[in-house]
């Protein structure tokens, strides 16, 4: 805690957010709602028009229709999520296809590239190191709490990388592009942190 922080007398004497310290990163509070943060209108995407692709250089090294994607191995995880706007939500349950299983399905042998850019409907992008997606750390989620993900929460499919601030779990994801060199995505170019570790409180550029 900053020693210079002024004390707000009378603050904190009432209700306090339930914040178990081992589960809620610094500066976060727990919510039971599911708030929404998006830069623009919610895209309405029909699953019959939906495809998902992996891109390496100028070519697609894997491409799936909705039905093909649904036939890939499915994984369910329970995890906490942390939004840079301060809310955390505990014990959320997601189902989808892990990044590991996607690489297997695309028969991508060996090394691809150390970074990816996620491209989404609505023009949104976000960048991630591959190391934060492999070994079960990231998935393309298609179900929340056992039901199809609502458009407002990123449906039909969103990236899920729950150990980073939730803007990295890009909504309406359609394509992952492998990159030899890191590039900044949408919010990362607009003043947000390039990596976004909630436990280090990496909210904004320079944190």
């Amino acid at each position: 805690m900053n020693d210079n922080a002024p004390i707000s007398r009378g603050f904190g004497s009432g209700r306090r957010a339930q914040t178990p310290k081992d589960r809620v990163p610094p500066g976060q509070y727990v919510t039971t709602d599911f708030p929404v943060l998006s830069a623009g209108p919610t895209p309405q995407i029909k699953v019959e028009d939906w495809t998902f692709a992996l891109q390496l250089g100028g070519s697609l090294i894997g491409k799936w229709s909705w039905l093909e994607f649904e036939a890939l191995p499915q994984t369910t995880i329970a995890t906490d999520i942390h939004c840079v706007t301060k809310w955390s939500k505990l014990d959320t349950v997601w189902q989808g296809v892990t990044f590991d299983d996607l690489l297997k399905a695309a028969e991508v042998g060996g090394s691809t590239a150390p970074f990816i850019m996620a491209h989404c409907d609505g023009g949104y992008t976000t960048n991630l190191p591959i190391a934060d997606l492999v070994d079960g750390k990231g998935m393309i989620a298609t179900r929340y709490d056992g039901l199809p993900i609502l458009p407002v929460h990123g449906g039909p499919a969103r990236l899920l990388v729950p150990h980073l601030y939730f803007w990295k779990s890009a909504k309406w994801v359609r394509r992952l592009r492998f990159m030899q060199h890191d590039e900044r995505g949408f919010w990362e170019r607009l003043g947000y942190h390039n990596y976004g570790d909630p436990w280090k409180e990496q909210r904004y550029d320079g944190d």
Binding site: M1, A5, A17, G27, D33, P41, G123, D205, G206
Partner: protein, 254 residues
């Protein structure tokens, strides 16, 4: 990285600063504006927000984000805060905070939901409740520069007494033939009310757009359900989704 780049990078870091409350304005029964002095404040763009951090006597801390209501040209930084029922931070800010009190703040944050008089094209603002706050920074900035930007504001409030900045907005519109302010009251309308009634719909959205040239820059701000509704109707009306910038205020935890 060169030394100059290192300095530029370091100076970008958003550090916690001390804000001192200079004045508190009662906007509505549930809403207060806090006029803050922040030594060395680096300025902001209309539409940006700040994080604030409160520290209790036992060291407990809580952080929240609040939109900036003041134009970049004004001397004091204004935050306008609505009391969220059962909230942890906003009831303190609205009911307990006094002139002279201090707390921590850092920002400005967000470089997407912003507008300045240098932006080309007309301006179309749609707000509900405290969603007016970041849009007010744009309107105050526009007024300061006497910018003749064709501008429409469609603003939804529960009742007349819940309209934030009502006198200032109406005075701005009276002075400025390029600014058109439309109110709708959703729950209670006074006798003789000539504005809109009920939730914002397609017809209100088309009507408020009439004085504008085509291709406006659109900003929509309010509760999530409001923003979802308005932005989807705007897309149905043929507006380019990329021209519509949204900010959703979750009522959560406030």
């Amino acid at each position: 990285m060169t030394a100059t780049e290192a300095v530029a990078r370091a100076s970008r870091r958003l550090r916690w600063q001390i804000a001192e409350v200079r004045e508190i304005v009662i906007e509505t029964p549930r809403v207060r504006s806090l006029l803050l002095y922040v030594a060395g404040w680096q300025g902001h763009l209309p539409g940006q927000h700040v994080d604030i951090r409160l520290t209790a006597e036992d060291g407990y801390q809580a952080q929240r984000s609040y939109s900036i209501a003041s134009s970049p040209e004004s001397e004091l930084l204004t935050l306008t805060v609505e009391r969220v029922m059962d909230g942890e931070v906003s009831p303190y800010l609205v009911d307990e905070l006094r002139s002279g009190d201090k707390f921590e703040l850092r920002g400005p944050i967000g470089r997407y939901f912003v507008w300045t008089v240098a932006t080309r094209g007309s301006l179309y603002l749609v707000a509900s409740g405290s969603g007016i706050v970041p849009l007010m920074a744009m309107l105050r900035h526009r007024e300061f520069h006497k910018a003749p930007v064709p501008t429409g504001l469609l603003y939804s409030s529960r009742s007349l007494e819940d309209v934030i900045y009502r006198e200032e907005l109406d005075a701005m519109a009276r002075r400025d033939p390029n600014l058109h302010v439309f109110h709708t009251l959703t729950r209670k309308q006074p006798d003789g009310w000539v504005g809109h009634r009920g939730r914002i719909d397609k017809y209100m959205l088309v009507g408020a757009l009439v004085p504008l040239v085509s291709k406006p820059n659109i900003f929509v701000c309010g509760a999530t359900s409001f923003v979802e509704h308005v932005s989807s109707v705007l897309v149905q009306l043929g507006h380019d989704a990329f021209a519509i910038k949204t900010e959703r205020f979750g009522p959560t935890g406030g």
